[in-house]
């Protein structure tokens, strides 16, 4: 393999930071006082449903949008008003935005051409960059002849060959079919890691974010709900909303007792060990515990476990069955179970497993 043309890990670029970014479109506030920082070599995922402001945030980082207030900095230097062509960032667009009238290698060489690199050098570098993404020898092909996965790699090579000071990716995996998606996750993480610059990517898919990102910023209605490692968001969600989005948890009312919380369902009280977010208050009023399908066990019949319920739905999720159990008082939980002899309409009983449950404010 030829020497990688990208910047060395820990290269010249510093951390990419967004500080108090707000962007309004008319009456609509797309991005509302968003702040976060991405260090060199770090992968941060902006996660959220559509309309959460994640793409606008990315476009502000790239320079395609100017924030109404707030700053974008790289290594401390203010870039807020610097146009995209002078930021030196690499961007991968959702639909790749490959130039349809150019060959693969001319697409990749375009950024070098814009920088006045001579033709021989830029073609050598473009070919090396294509080899880096596993597309050696594809340089002459027209863009139209590439598959979706190949187009994605070309877009990545085009962003990497300019030795970007930061990498920005807009839904880089959303156009790939599920099988390809799995393998591209690993490839993408490996390649981004090797470049050693801050990398920011947008996705609506939390599994993509878990598989690739070092940290995740969860956005809703233009605000950052929580920013932390995937484990933090999963095990110590900062709010009910985070718990509902990450890991598909169901929240059940509880009374905060410090290291534990008291949960009462159908008159049966249980005390559960809990974890809480780093900056959560020592005592949460109006508290809820988060119950995920893999933190509850279930048995057929009413008498085995403390909480009684009825199965309203059952689906096979590859290796396990997931049962939806109505516990009364408006509480319905999902339970993962290996047992297969329970059917819709059966009476069951459930119990929390012996583990810590996330505790959040309502």
């Amino acid at each position: 393999m030829t020497a990688a043309p990208q910047a060395r890990p820990g290269g010249e670029s510093g951390a990419l930071a967004l500080e108090g970014i707000t962007r309004r479109f008319g009456d609509f506030t797309a991005v509302d006082n968003v702040s976060f920082q991405v260090g060199p070599g770090e992968l941060l995922a902006l996660v959220g449903a559509s309309g959460s402001g994640k793409t606008t945030t990315l476009r502000i980082a790239a320079g395609y949008e100017t924030p109404d207030s707030g700053r974008v900095t790289l290594g401390g230097a203010d870039l807020t008003r610097v146009p995209p062509e002078r930021r030196g960032f690499g961007m991968v667009f959702q639909h790749y935005a490959l130039f349809p009238h150019m060959s693969v290698e001319n697409n990749v060489a375009f950024g070098l051409e814009a920088r006045g690199v001579n033709k021989v050098d830029r073609l050598i570098k473009a070919r090396a960059a294509l080899a880096n993404v596993g597309l050696e020898g594809a340089g002459d092909r027209p863009i139209q002849s590439l598959s979706g996965g190949e187009q994605q790699r070309v877009a990545l090579a085009r962003a990497l060959v300019i030795e970007p000071k930061a990498l920005l990716l807009d839904e880089p995996l959303s156009n790939l079919d599920p099988n390809l998606r799995e393998t591209m996750r690993d490839d993408l993480r490996r390649m981004l890691r090797r470049v050693g610059v801050p990398a920011l990517f947008v996705t609506h898919d939390q599994e993509d974010a878990f598989a690739i990102a070092d940290r995740i910023a969860l956005l809703k209605r233009g605000r950052v709900l929580q920013c932390g490692t995937p484990e933090e968001l999963y095990h110590s969600p900062a709010s009910r909303e985070v718990a509902g989005f990450i890991g598909r948890g169901v929240v059940v009312p509880a009374i905060d007792k410090g290291a534990t919380a008291e949960v009462t369902i159908g008159g049966v009280k249980r005390e559960l060990p809990v974890t809480r977010a780093k900056d959560a208050p020592p005592k949460i009023e109006n508290a809820f515990v988060v119950m995920r399908p893999n933190s509850i066990e279930m048995s057929k019949g009413a008498g085995v476990f403390p909480w009684r319920g009825k199965v309203v739905n059952r689906r096979f999720a590859g290796g396990v069955e997931v049962y939806r159990v109505e516990l009364g008082e408006g509480i319905t939980v999902d339970v993962e179970s290996q047992t297969a002899d329970v059917h819709e309409g059966d009476n069951v009983s459930v119990a929390p497993l012996k583990r810590a449950f996330p505790l959040v404010a309502g």
């Binding site: 961007m91 490959l98 130039f99 009238h101 085009r158 962003a159």
Partner: protein, 550 residues
């Protein structure tokens, strides 16, 4: 099943193809054959004639210059209106396509009234600066290209505007993210991606300018071009030479077409239509003022020809001599048009001939489009060529072909005497408008799911019922749009008419020319206004028809 559907195809395709071969191929073949009627004699005559050399070169020069002039106006205007927001933008957008609404001869006489030796603008400048002579003469290549640019830039403007609208703005963003500045983006991304639109419109301008007749005829001032040269030879009875000139003109057009196809050969991509980016407001106050003033000047220049024709239509014939504006105004011109039978005649002629031609176009082109889109049979490619061919042949050449072929009754060779009768002009209009109507209907039918026809037949509908309830409704937008364009083109047609008309079936355009020659400017302008109103009326009728059905 398969063979029966194939046989069915031929039941419709047979007559359609036969009719088009008879009307399109046969006359043109007759012209080519006629050019060789005494061996290479007529061709030697052509090569030896300095006048014909001049005509060929001038035709090509005018065509190429018209392309560049139209690009120079159309491309910047499309960018200005497509990419920027400024006061007056909507007004400018509304009038930008106005020149296309002028029938060809009307545009030419409007320019005569405005910029001719005794035109309004010319006289006004002459007076303002106290010159003893007109500051310019509306003559020669320059004048012809000037008129062409005014009427034909609309093609470029429309094509490039559509291209800009379909332009995927993320490509532009990707380029700027990779470090390309405004100029680099324009040169490497925007312009290459707009090239198909530019090339397509340039081809249209080239073909139109090459076949153009009215501007060279009125402004030529002794200048020779191929199309006028053909009429000269025919008038002088030198039919052999006219055949050669016609063949050369048609070959030039086909060569131009082939050249453009070849230049565009490498393109395999299409622009994804993801919606262009929003228009940018012009920030700098100075640029904004300049843009608005510029827009105002363009708006006036675009509207002026229409206004001028309307004004002159109220001028008393013979009263406008050396004044800047016509001195006397009257309703007399209009009153005479409606009251004198001889003056009313061209109007009924044009309307009835346009209706006949358009009716025939609708029937034949619908069947042809249906066969091309839905049927697989041996003659499909040939049929496609037949309906497109008249587009590549200049109207003067088509007209001369008809004159050469349908000049006697001879059932054995398929000749019918039409020259000198009423029917020759509707036939010419029908041929000229066939490509237009066919492609409009084709594009409507292509949007229809081909399995709908099978579904209807599967539900037990007869072929006729399937046509009536499924296919014709799907083709309707194309039929209405194509029919409108054909009727508009036919009612103001000049180029083929000037070769083929007789006094009895003279259309409006020929009467305008006759009035102009008699220096009856007011009457000529009144006919022009009437023609514009007819076009407007047909457009409104087509629109309301479409709305009522939709």
């Amino acid at each position: 099943m398969k063979s029966s559907s194939r046989r069915n195809s031929w039941i419709i395709a047979g007559p359609v193809i036969a009719l088009l071969v008879w009307a399109v191929i046969y006359p043109n073949a007759a012209v080519v054959a006629g050019s060789f009627e005494n061996g290479l004699g007529h061709w030697r005559e052509f090569w030896a004639s300095p006048a014909d050399h001049e005509a060929l070169i001038t035709s090509l020069v005018i065509s190429v210059a018209s392309v560049f002039a139209s690009l120079a106006i159309g491309v910047p205007l499309a960018f200005l209106l497509g990419r920027f927001e400024f006061p007056g933008r909507r007004l400018l957008r509304a009038v930008a396509t106005l020149p296309a609404a002028l029938p060809p001869l009307v545009g030419v006489i409007a320019f005569l009234f405005l910029y001719g030796e005794s035109g309004l603008v010319t006289r006004a400048i002459q007076r303002a600066f106290g010159m003893s002579e007109a500051p310019w003469q509306l003559r020669g290549v320059g004048a012809i290209v000037f008129v062409h640019a005014y009427t034909m830039y609309v093609y470029v403007f429309l094509f490039v505007s559509a291209g800009l609208e379909r332009f995927d703005s993320s490509l532009d963003e990707a380029a700027s993210g990779l470090g390309a500045n405004t100029w680099q983006r324009l040169r490497r991304v925007t312009i290459p991606l707009l090239m198909p639109a530019v090339a397509g419109s340039a081809l249209l301008v080239f073909m139109n300018a090459l076949g153009s007749f009215s501007a060279p005829y009125v402004f030529g001032g002794g200048l020779r071009v191929l199309s006028t040269q053909i009429l000269n030879s025919k008038t002088n009875g030198a039919m052999g030479l006219a055949y050669v000139e016609t063949t050369v003109l048609a070959l030039s057009a086909v060569a131009g077409l082939a050249l453009f196809r070849w230049l565009d050969r490498k393109r395999k991509y299409t622009l994804a239509s993801k919606g262009g980016r929003a228009r940018r407001a012009i920030r700098s106050r100075k640029v904004q003022v300049l843009t608005t003033v510029g827009a105002a000047i363009i708006v006036i220049a675009l509207v002026l020809p229409h206004l001028m024709v309307i004004l002159v239509s109220f001028a008393r014939d013979g009263s406008w001599t050396t004044q800047v504006l016509p001195p006397e105004y009257t309703f007399e011109n209009y009153r005479r048009l409606f009251s004198e039978a001889e003056l009313w005649r061209p109007i009924t002629n044009s309307v009835s001939m346009a209706l006949i031609a358009t009716g025939a176009n609708l029937v034949v082109c619908f069947l042809a489009a249906y066969l091309i889109v839905f049927r697989k049979f041996g003659g499909r490619r040939f049929l496609e060529l037949l309906v497109a061919l008249p587009w590549a042949i200049p109207a003067t050449a088509i007209a001369l072909g008809l004159a050469a072929t349908f000049n006697r009754n001879d059932p054995l060779t398929g000749r019918v005497l039409l020259v000198g009768t009423f029917w020759i002009l509707p036939l010419a209009y029908f041929i000229r408008d066939t490509p237009l109507v066919s492609s409009a209907v084709e594009s409507s039918l292509r949007q229809m799911d081909a399995s709908l026809e099978d579904a209807a037949r599967g539900l037990g509908a007869s072929w006729l019922m399937t046509m009536r309830r499924v296919i014709i409704p799907a083709a309707r937008p194309g039929l209405v749009a194509g029919g409108l364009l054909a009727a508009v083109a036919a009612v103001g047609e000049f180029v083929a008419s000037v070769v083929l008309y007789t006094h009895a079936n003279r259309p409006i355009s020929m009467e305008i020319l006759a009035q102009l020659r008699a220096l009856a400017f007011g009457t000529a302008a009144a006919y022009s206004v009437l023609l514009i109103l007819l076009v407007l009326l047909m457009t409104l009728a087509a629109r309301s028809f479409e709305e009522r059905l939709a």
